[in-house]
């Protein structure tokens, strides 16, 4: 039996900044994971990934990352995505310097 589909977010890096970006429900790109679109349907996820891949002017290297529903939006389920959503642990740089980011990974 195929494994059940686990919810995903479409994520990539921004072309100019290199910063981690996520696709929002309206198809735009956002910097905070909690504002990302948590896609629960496999066909939809693949459609949105294909669309992202067709937008090379903004998003570099888009892929589908596992995520779960958190209190204020999607949260990562793997530590790599948790680091991408916050920034490095040795220096207070990257997304964690912005207000909403730490909350997004509070339960990971």
């Amino acid at each position: 039996m195929p494994r059940p589909f686990s919810p995903k977010v479409v994520t990539a890096n921004d072309l100019i900044e290199g910063d981690v970006i996520y696709m929002a429900r309206n198809g735009s790109w956002v910097r905070d994971m909690c504002m990302a679109w948590l896609i629960e349907d496999e066909a939809e996820a693949n459609t949105q990934l294909a669309r992202a891949t067709d937008e090379p002017g903004i998003a570099v290297g888009p892929y589908l990352a596992d995520a779960a529903a958190g209190p204020t939006g999607p949260i990562p389920t793997h530590f790599r995505e948790a680091f991408r959503a916050t920034g490095p642990s040795n220096r207070f740089h990257g997304k964690q310097t912005q207000q909403s980011a730490p909350e997004a990974v509070a339960n990971v």
Binding site: I16, G18, G61, R80, P88, K95
Partner: protein, 556 residues
């Protein structure tokens, strides 16, 4: 030091201008990422977890003070005010914007630096002994040889699309501080029975997922044969190396699959073809390069102040014992400036620290600065009478930690805090080990002990060569750390052995602590280092310390 001539200058400037156009075309949408990626990699630009990364070559780890100041300026203006020294004597900037990188490269070109061939399947930055020109045990300064190889390999038309990356290292000392046996080609400057200086050529060394110790391909190569011979080796590899499987593409695998004898025969045949094409111009050029590396005028001065400072200040005494090595000139020392303050990120230097280092090197260090593969900064030529002043300045800027060669002098790759390839973090593990042993106040009692940490199997942190190696992996979605024991980066180069099952993130520091306490119990006396005790006793007592529960089970 070697200064760029007009040819170097115009080549680097043209390359920056070309890359500026390429970046412009990527931003305008004229180039896709697939088209742009090989172009950016040829210019040292990676895309990592949180941002782009620019890797700048520091040929054989040598910098002058103006270059150091420019690295500080670049870090401050286009990055977050710091840079990171790497295990291949490069500097990496972790936060540049793509659109700023051409300006950063222009600023590098202003001081004779670039990021060319710091990535991609080409011959990478040529590294060398960081004590070059200063070590007491040196046959010859390896930098002129390294510079000749740098010029030969830069933009070499035949070697821009090798099966895989290719790394050269040169040492002029038996002590081999350049880890030549872990390189695709290792070059050791040696003297033969007739007293002539030439090269021993090693091939097929490397770490990564398949660690291999390099083998001798040529025991003594006359100096004038160096370029045609190295060209023959790379040429044979370029033909034979496997392009079908990335994990079998390095020359270490080519050598294992074909055998060293077959490689030797092919290289000799190719060398016979190439040798007549080298007219000797390269040797005239080598002589000119060597003249650029002549030793500074060493001074003589009284050591009274130095001895008085040692007597008066135990902290200075400890630092000058630990971080200053013997120099070939009377009264001089080689200073290792620790970029490993307890709890700091190994190898990070702030722009302020870089400027202090530039000023100190200018005032006290004959303007010569080195970056070591151990991620520290070296002043190769310091008169001991100047050590108290240098120490005071370093101390005021967090760079006077007396830990060179000790347990907190850890090599750590960037790991999952930055690197897109990493499977676990390295830096916080290094930070916590350093802080723990600093808190225990036993670092100096433990003595020489090298811990090396990699955040993935590619082994940028040289974990295979650590007396204690730590490899961070992703085990079922959780960070897990494997320990290897008994590795050594010295002239014999020993690959460590995996001790057993890995440890969770919060268990790795306690595991290291058990291991070190076991060593302190087991050693014969204070003179027996960790690696000596390990070699004497074997792995069993150390494994028992790492896995006490298992030991009890076995006993029962």
């Amino acid at each position: 030091m070697y200064d760029y001539n007009n040819f170097d200058e115009s080549f680097v400037r043209n390359r920056v201008a070309q890359f500026r156009e390429q970046v412009g075309r990527r931003i305008s949408g004229a180039l896709t990422e697939d088209e742009f990626k090989p172009l950016r990699l040829m210019n040292g630009v990676y895309l990592q977890l949180h941002a782009y990364m620019l890797r700048v070559a520091i040929p054989y780890g040598s910098l002058n003070p103006n270059q150091m100041r420019q690295l500080a300026m670049i870090g401050e203006r286009w990055d977050k005010g710091y840079g990171h020294w790497t295990t291949r004597q490069n500097i990496q900037y972790n936060w540049p914007r793509l659109s700023d990188i051409p300006d950063m490269l222009d600023a590098l070109a202003d001081v004779g630096m670039h990021a060319i061939q710091t990535s991609g399947n080409t011959i990478r930055n040529v590294t060398a002994d960081h004590f070059a020109g200063a070590a007491a045990d040196e046959v010859e300064d390896p930098r002129p040889t390294a510079e000749l190889l740098r010029q030969w390999s830069t933009d070499h038309p035949e070697f821009q699309f090798l099966p895989r990356k290719f790394k050269l290292a040169v040492t002029g000392s038996k002590a081999d501080r350049a880890v030549t046996k872990a390189h695709d080609i290792g070059i050791r400057i040696v003297k033969n029975a007739a007293g002539e200086i030439g090269y021993q050529i090693l091939v097929g060394g490397g770490l990564g997922r398949t660690p291999v110790v390099g083998q001798v391909l040529k025991d003594f190569l006359p100096r004038e044969d160096l370029l045609p011979y190295v060209e023959a080796v790379v040429s044979v590899y370029n033909t034979l190396g496997r392009r079908d499987n990335k994990y079998k593409a390095r020359i270490k695998i080519t050598t294992m699959e074909n055998g060293i004898e077959a490689i030797h025969d092919l290289v000799e045949a190719r060398f016979a073809q190439l040798r007549p094409l080298f007219s000797g111009v390269d040797q005239e050029h080598f002589a000119n390069i060597a003249a650029d590396f002549k030793a500074p005028e060493f001074k003589t001065a009284s050591l009274d102040g130095y001895h008085a400072a040692r007597d008066a200040d135990p902290i200075f005494r400890s630092w000058s014992d630990t971080n200053v090595d013997d120099h070939r000139a009377d009264g001089y020392g080689i200073v290792t400036i620790s970029m490993k303050a307890h709890g700091a990120t190994p190898g990070d230097a702030s722009a302020d620290q870089m400027r202090v280092l530039a000023d100190l090197a200018e005032e006290f260090g004959h303007g010569d600065i080195r970056i070591s593969h151990e991620q520290n900064v070296i002043f190769p030529h310091v008169h001991r009478s100047d050590l108290p002043a240098i120490f005071a300045a370093l101390r005021a800027h967090g760079m006077a930690t007396a830990n060179a060669g000790l347990i907190s002098d850890i090599i750590a790759c960037p790991g999952m805090d930055y690197c897109a390839l990493a499977t676990a973090r390295s830096i916080p593990v290094a930070q916590e080990i350093a802080e723990r042993f600093d808190a225990l106040k036993i670092e100096h009692d433990i003595g020489h002990l090298q811990i090396k940490i990699s955040g993935c199997i590619n082994a940028c942190g040289h974990h295979h060569l650590g007396h204690i190696g730590i490899l961070g992996l992703d085990r079922a979605g959780v960070e897990n750390y494997q320990i290897t024991l008994g590795g050594d980066a010295g002239p014999d180069t020993v690959i460590g052995k995996r001790a057993g099952p890995g440890f969770a993130y919060d268990q790795i520091v306690p595991a290291i602590e058990r291991l070190v306490h076991a060593y302190l119990e087991l050693r014969e006396d204070e003179g027996e280092t960790f690696i000596d005790a390990y070699r004497r006793l074997g792995e069993a007592p150390f494994k028992a310390a790492l896995y006490p529960e298992e030991d009890k089970t076995n006993a029962a």
